[in-house]
Symmetry: C2
Subunit: 204 residues, 2 copies
């Protein structure tokens, strides 16, 4: 016999399936919802349903959107010749938060990961290549994650984006701001050295 | 302008209000739900709604139940003269998991916490006192949390449960199983010493 009523167990199970929530947290959330005002449960349930029903992928950049095209794609103030390539919609949000990028995006929907059966054909690379010419893209900024899969994807993109006159760049790897040389791992520190910037004098 | 579509922001906000979920986790869960099969969102939304609609408090012990009386209260195999007093329904689950307790429960609905405005009259103590006589309770086991509020509640319960012939006990505080003397805090170690058990010889 389970110690919970069936509907409580179902609720705990539903939360425990979400990423980053273990069985203990799921239990805590479930009891919180049962104790809180009924309105909180109603809000949560309707937020889940509404988000899923109202959103789709932007037809151009594959960001999450409530319309055919997302708010960034339709924004005329965005540089149309600058294209940032990211793995997931959440990465668009991360780049947007920096306030450093005023171009548009292209969301691949993942990274090349042969162990998980994700090759270039599973990603939206065809769609990226189809955009570069018609949108008169000047520069593609590759913003995949600085891990094995992201790097493999960046390498592959660099190869297929071999278009005359197109600049392909990749975000810098290095020490995080506020970080400490002493505690940096060798790979990151190595990258920081390779990617060093000239701050005085001229490069030869 | 928010970087998210409105319905996505609402979803993130709804999750961020849950206990133990910060803004980053809420965002991760939201994007997970948007990427997963629509069925997963539907399941979650209906689990939340169903649990809240189907459950109520057991009329006798105030545990969460789908019926008027909870499954423990109606179980004839339970010792009816042994009553375990806990703060919250989740504590019932914790005690049940030990498989060490075969009596019934009484859920107070919190602990005495004057700073938060919770006095004895906000807890289900009247209801506890009303049960002890009619149910011919032999022993009340106080299982409040071993913190300031739980201890205050235990002290108060011990005073009001001054019924002739009734045994009142409290769960032991001490070192956790698998713990280490060296790393135990002074209070816990002090409690473990005070509550030491006789393992040979006779107490005088």
């Amino acid at each position: 016999m389970s110690a919970y009523a069936d509907s409580v167990q179902d609720l705990i199970d539903a939360f425990a399936r979400l990423p980053g929530i273990g069985p203990k947290s799921a239990q805590r959330i479930a009891f919180h919802l049962l104790k809180a005002e009924p309105e909180e449960s109603r809000n949560l349930a309707s937020a889940v349903t509404a988000a899923r029903e109202r959103t789709r992928f932007c037809e151009r950049c594959f960001n999450i959107s409530e319309e055919t095209l997302c708010s960034i794609c339709v924004d005329p103030k965005r540089d149309s010749d600058l294209l940032c390539v990211v793995e997931e919609p959440r990465d668009v949000v991360a780049v947007e938060r920096t306030l450093e990028f005023r171009g548009r995006y292209h969301v691949l929907g993942g990274a090349i990961d042969h162990l998980q059966g994700v090759g270039p054909e599973q990603l939206r690379i065809k769609e990226l290549l189809a955009r570069v010419g018609p949108e008169e893209t000047r520069e593609v900024v590759i913003c995949t994650n600085p891990n094995l899969e992201g790097e493999a994807t960046a390498l592959y993109l660099n190869r297929v984006l071999d278009v005359p006159g197109l600049i392909v760049s990749q975000i810098a790897s290095g020490l995080p701001v506020g970080g400490d040389l002493e505690y940096a791992d060798e790979l990151t520190l190595g990258r920081a050295l390779t990617g060093r910037r000239l701050i005085q004098g001229e490069s030869t």
